[in-house]
């Protein structure tokens, strides 16, 4: 059972790390600000989400698990709101500088 859980953790965390990698590559390589914003939100939402998912089987108590999920939810909220705000600010300035 614990081997299966460990395996689950490893797969989820590795997938999360991959999304951080992809987000960074996108931030560095994509041609304009709006597409870079798109890459960033993938890392924010999926990267941290998968890492949190992978860590969930390893927590000591229910409160710790709730805190982990709350951390992810807060980052989701912050990421979504700031992506909206930055995107609008970019568009107001006339696009892809």
């Amino acid at each position: 059972m614990s081997v299966a859980l460990d395996l689950f953790s490893i797969v989820a965390i590795a997938a999360g790390a991959f999304f951080f990698f992809a987000g960074s590559v996108g931030l560095l390589r994509f041609p304009d600000s709006l597409t870079r914003l798109h890459a960033l939100s993938k890392a924010d939402n999926l990267g941290l989400g998968l890492v949190v998912l992978g860590l969930l089987p390893r927590v000591a108590s229910l409160l710790d698990a709730l805190k982990l999920v709350a951390i992810w939810a807060l980052v989701l909220l912050s990421g979504a709101a700031s992506a909206q705000l930055i995107g609008r600010a970019l568009r107001r300035r006339g696009g892809d500088e």
């Binding site: 965390i13 951080f20 960074s24 951390i71 992810w72 912050s78």
Partner: protein, 94 residues
């Protein structure tokens, strides 16, 4: 397993730190802000991974604080662009 968690934390930190090259290159301030935000999220992920591998009390609260304030720099940035000449703020201030 702990080794794996630490490796994952190191890998994530390395990738988001590479993203910081956007701060050097820009070109726009928005791009710089995005790199800082990616570092913030990556930092939270690395913090949680390190905490899971090395027992330190209170790390979850530190991550909670960081997550709570993750959007603040971006909000301040968006709030300040466009108003940077001070006109808009002065005008409704009087």
């Amino acid at each position: 397993m702990n080794e794996f968690l630490l490796c994952a934390a190191g890998f994530i930190l390395l990738t988001v730190a590479a993203g910081l090259f956007r701060v050097l290159r820009g070109p726009g301030d928005a791009d710089r802000m995005m790199a800082a935000q990616l570092l913030g999220t990556g930092g939270i992920a690395a913090l949680l991974l390190i905490a899971s591998a090395t027992p330190v009390a209170g790390v979850a609260d530190v991550a909670l604080g960081l997550a709570l304030l993750a959007a603040f720099a971006s909000v301040a940035f968006v709030n300040s662009v466009g108003a940077d000449d001070g006109q808009a703020r002065e005008a409704d201030g009087k």
